[in-house]
């Protein structure tokens, strides 16, 4: 057994490209077979004719993509991007300090990490309804404030963009905290001490030492928040009163009430294309930076 293992490793050592793929093969295979191939079906669907009873009919058309150029849908896309960006920035502003505090909390680290994730082990809908309960006119926040005499009329929170934002941030905060934490955690405290010895003020220490070193975590976190936020649809319905439509709702509706699978697929692929391009451009620029720095 050991001989076989060694022989295999010896063989791999002579084929660097295969060595990489041998490690990645299971994951790549899974993604390819159970994600990309099914997605390929949907891509084909997005060029077919709509069947009025759901599904598609044979044919080839680009009308579903052309339809997306309608200002109506562009407006929806822009609004969604604004929300998603807002959510990302807010998550970063809230998540970074928390991740930093956790990474410097010594023996409490693990406990604090789990406390970040704990709320997410209850169903999203249950949590969201609990938020509704807190925020509604006769909810806990308003009754408490009124009880304290701070306000006389209930503050209208539900149905406002702020409520949607709060819900989005709530839903995606751990996606920001966890990657930042894991990149901060490996940061060598002696680096900070070195910076301190060199006379760096706290702010300078942070911006010149800590932040650059935790950038991979910040980037990973931002992507993991921004992208799902772009596709969210229940939060705006439940907390925003469903009075605005997000790109996620649009897609969802095409597969349900509108029964327009090709348009739903096309809309998804447009959004996915835009996001992937942005991600790809970012990855490229980062690689270039890395080369320039070397």
């Amino acid at each position: 057994m050991m001989e076989l293992r060694r022989a295999w490793l010896r063989w791999l050592s002579r084929h660097p490209s295969l060595r990489a793929w041998s490690v990645m093969f299971p994951g790549a295979w899974w993604l390819l077979v159970f994600f990309m191939v099914p997605l390929g079906f949907m891509f084909a669907y997005s060029f077919m004719e709509r069947n009025v009873y759901g599904g598609v009919e044979a044919g080839f058309t680009i009308e579903h993509y052309a339809r997306f150029a309608d200002p109506l849908y562009m407006k929806i896309l822009v609004r969604t991007v604004v929300y998603a960006l807002g959510c990302t920035v807010a998550s970063l502003l809230m998540g970074y300090p928390v991740a930093y505090a956790i990474s410097r909390s010594g023996p409490w680290k693990n406990l604090l990490v789990f406390l970040v994730i704990l709320p997410f082990w209850t169903s999203f809908l249950v949590r969201t309804f609990a938020m509704i309960f807190l925020m509604r006119d006769t909810g806990l926040i308003n009754t408490t404030l009124m009880g304290m005499g701070l306000i006389t009329e209930p503050i209208e929170m539900l149905g406002t963009p702020a409520a949607v934002m709060a819900g989005l941030v709530y839903g995606f905060l751990p996606f920001m905290v966890l990657p930042i934490y894991s990149s901060l955690e490996k940061l060598d405290p002696s680096l900070l001490e070195a910076a301190e010895v060199l006379g760096a003020k706290p702010a300078a220490r942070f911006f010149r030492v800590v932040l650059p070193l935790s950038m991979p975590g910040v980037v990973a976190g931002s992507l993991l928040v921004f992208i799902p936020a772009l596709g969210s649809f229940l939060t705006s319905d439940l907390l925003g009163g469903a009075k605005e439509i997000m790109i996620g709702n649009l897609v969802q509706n095409q597969f349900t009430s509108a029964r327009n699978w090709p348009f739903g697929s096309a809309a998804s692929f447009v959004v996915m294309g835009v996001v992937l391009l942005a991600v790809f451009a970012y990855l490229r620029s980062r690689d270039d930076d890395a080369l320039a720095g070397a």
Binding site: R6, R10, S13, R14, S190
Partner: protein, 371 residues
């Protein structure tokens, strides 16, 4: 003659079309302190990694032998070497003693023996096992980490120890101390040391032999005195210590030497240069400390002599460097012992006419550098 411990035969390594190591060959004898010296990017680290097994030579890239066996296809863990990394590479999640025990565990050393050997290894590098053993590496100073890394390597009682710029991160005083300690470990334990460094002084101090690498090749291989006193190429002459260079045309060849005529007509005799043809342009090198200055007319016979004018006297403590300009505007440096400038100042002052003299025996003909 004993079998060499390590042997490189025409070893080449290419990364993405770029030759990192170009057909290099050398042998390392048992118990030797062997240094690989060169500027960054010269291929010295790749050479060490080829020996360690982290890199595999190109398909037709020659062979690496350890103790007579070809090891091209052996993984690092099959080579029974030990290594100290530049950044020490201590496992942050393991205590000092567990770091040191790691290799023993891999080799299946019994528990009781392991504890004993870990303690002995820490003792050997002068770290108190009781005090430092349980600590995490992060709680140690740079010098202490260095010692742990050394203990982790030595505990395996390897026959060959690889060291990749192990002293680079230490301050000067600690570095000097460790240099002597490494050398004495090498002598005491009889382990072959293969030491990679870019610090020529370090290499000269510690090594039995030095391989100077330049541009993916071994530029010269020899004992420190040989490398220093008989540099083969201009690169070696320049990289190790300082050198004065003289360029001229060969006008006479004799056994063991040549006579060269400078552009200004002065003749210079030098050792070496076998096989150089008449009329060929060659470069000669002479160390500053082998150069003397005399009055313009006081040159002794049998010496090379070039008329010059003093340009500058540089005070360097132990030594004085006197820079003189030759007739064609080129410069030569003479290094002389400082006899005490306050009591007996040197006679040379800026603008003084003089003669630069040096013995043909101290003047080497350099080989042209490979393209």
């Amino acid at each position: 003659m004993a079998e060499p411990v390590v042997e490189f035969n025409n070893v080449s390594k290419t990364f993405a079309g770029q030759k990192a190591v170009r057909a290099i060959s050398f042998r390392i004898e048992k118990g030797e302190f062997f240094s690989i010296l060169g500027p960054s990017g010269c291929g010295k680290t790749t050479t060490l990694r080829l020996l360690a097994g982290f890199e595999v030579p190109d398909e037709d890239g020659g062979e690496v032998r350890i103790e007579g066996q070809v090891v091209n296809n052996r993984r690092p863990y099959e080579r029974r070497l030990a290594m100290v990394f530049q950044n020490y590479a201590l496992f942050p999640h393991l205590s000092v003693e567990r770091n040191v025990a790691f290799g023993l565990e891999q080799r299946g050393v019994p528990r009781a023996q392991m504890v004993e050997r870990v303690r002995a290894a820490l003792d050997m590098v002068r770290l108190d096992p009781a005090q430092y053993g349980p600590r995490p590496p992060a709680a140690l100073s740079g010098g202490q980490r260095q010692r742990v890394a050394l203990a982790r390597a030595l505990v395996l009682e390897p026959s060959i120890l690889l060291l990749d710029e192990p002293l680079g991160a230490l301050d000067l005083k600690l570095r000097k101390e460790m240099q002597l300690e490494l050398k004495s470990l090498n002598r005491r334990l009889g382990i072959t040391f293969v030491y990679v460094t870019h610090d020529q002084e370090e290499a000269l101090t510690m090594s039995d032999r030095i391989a100077v690498m330049d541009n993916a090749r071994v530029a010269q291989l020899g004992a420190p005195a040989e490398i220093y006193e008989r540099p083969r190429t201009a690169f070696v002459a320049r990289f190790i210590g300082e050198s004065n260079f003289v360029i001229g045309e060969v006008v006479a060849t004799e056994r063991g030497g040549v006579v060269v005529k400078r552009a200004d007509g002065n003749l210079v005799a030098a050792r070496g240069g076998e096989g150089r043809a008449m009329g060929e342009t060659v470069q000669l090198a002479v160390r500053p400390e082998r150069v003397e200055l005399t009055g313009p007319d006081q040159a002794p016979g049998g010496q090379n002599m070039l008329p010059a004018r003093i340009r500058q006297v540089v005070y360097r403590g132990e030594m004085l460097h006197v820079r003189a300009t030759l007739g064609d505007g080129s410069e030569m440096v003479a290094a002389m012992r400082n006899e005490g400038q306050l009591r007996r100042p040197v006679v040379w002052q800026e603008g003084t006419e003089c003669a630069v003299t040096f013995s043909p025996d101290d003047t080497r003909v350099l080989e042209p550098e490979p393209a």
